[in-house]
Point group: C2
Chain length 293, copies 2
Amino acid sequence: MNPAAVANRFSEAARVDIDDLGVLGKIRVRGMIANHDRPSLEYAEATQRKFAQIGIHYELLQVERLALETAIIEANDDPEIHGIFIYFPVFHNEQDSYLRNLVDYRKDIEAGSIYWTRKLYNNDRLVDGDPSRKALLPCTPLAIVKLLGEIGVYAKDNQPLTGRTVTIFNRSEVIGRPLAIMLSNDGAKVYSFDVNGPMLFVDARPEEINISRTQALEESDIVVTGVPSADFEKITAGEIRPDCVCLNFSSYSNFDEDITHRNRIYIPKVGPMTVAMCIRNTLRLYRNFHHDS
Amino acid sequence: MNPAAVANRFSEAARVDIDDLGVLGKIRVRGMIANHDRPSLEYAEATQRKFAQIGIHYELLQVERLALETAIIEANDDPEIHGIFIYFPVFHNEQDSYLRNLVDYRKDIEAGSIYWTRKLYNNDRLVDGDPSRKALLPCTPLAIVKLLGEIGVYAKDNQPLTGRTVTIFNRSEVIGRPLAIMLSNDGAKVYSFDVNGPMLFVDARPEEINISRTQALEESDIVVTGVPSADFEKITAGEIRPDCVCLNFSSYSNFDEDITHRNRIYIPKVGPMTVAMCIRNTLRLYRNFHHDS
């Protein structure tokens, strides 16, 4: 499976919706990057091109990290701007969480601020209980769910992952925890690992559990990794089932080469799909909060 | 200086205010602890007794950490509860920040949620611009400012720390960063260190700076430490000025024994003062949001 091709399909669908809504070229997003390294900047520019292709005006601003707080407040207050995208990490500590939450939820296309996370955790799918205004889901977890949906592990059912076991290595507030909630909400039994140990999610509820990495992997139909460290002991073919679906969203590959090189279902990155989900979210925000008719 | 005695004085002043307001015994706070270790529980019980002495009803609940999210939402929704106190750390990761922000700001006696932090960072001192409703400041930074005020380093002035240099080891969103903002707002030049290096705060604005620990300490009139790790290289008498004021708010002492044992101005902990500031904040919340007249 080619994540970029799937992403393009979703982006094109968004383009049709934007056209139908009669707002091609009218939606304005401001991306802000406080990072000087070349790969980050290239990723930012790629995002910009993708939004432009879909018919969304995307202005990319380079700001000093100490100017970012003020820049976010300005973008929040600017009625001409409908969406805000921040390239994290910036400070590599809790201050990033502060900045993420500083973005007005009505412009938060990544849906990483607490307004949207809270809705997800409380299974509140609407804005102000209005059935015409659907809640947003965080981009990267949503991208992962959609990619898994593409490869046939999802049944066409109300609880499409019933009977499936998933292990996730990452329990961040931005990706790992929301993803565990979303997959368990779809019926999966989810083992979640981070440096503080394992946790089990069933029906969108966390439980304390004592299970080893080995046991969890033996049981898993799907393994998702997002450990941004070269120190993580890579997952080898011997640890997982032969038919296991593997997905890595870390900038490091957390799977051994014997998995990534073989003819397995291995999704090496979700970046393009994350951008597609941000486009989808941008449209949803515009409909919910910035469109009059 | 005895921090506990100073704390008692502040608490007594709050008791008088509560009496004047005619609400002795009417304010209800719910404390929640999701921690089974003996010292944490003893601290929680001490907090409870202190609030009770001041005439505030303080109900202490022990909850499992996975039940804390729901327990916070219940306390938020309960009109009989006017204040909420959570004993952190709980999960020792970003989830703690999520929980901190889940507390309704109108009940957040620690003032650690983003509503209050944002006011501090934007120098917005009122609730909804109403001069009769003053904004809250986060408990521990406020406790530190008040303790420093007790020992004569503050001038009776509009900018009482003008000409003073402060070094802080800790730039957390809950204590170190707000403290740097508050002290620099009072006129101090503040060097702030964390694992990502130093930063300078002047007039409540951060600036990038390249300075060594040695240089910063040599220049400092006040040194504040809050590094919760035994690995931190303790500050020795040789590194600081003879008349330097030292304050430690970490559970570890970050100062060498040659400082803590000598006849210096050394404040070894702020816990009692933090509780006193929480009491003060509780009263302020009650006046702002829960009192009719």
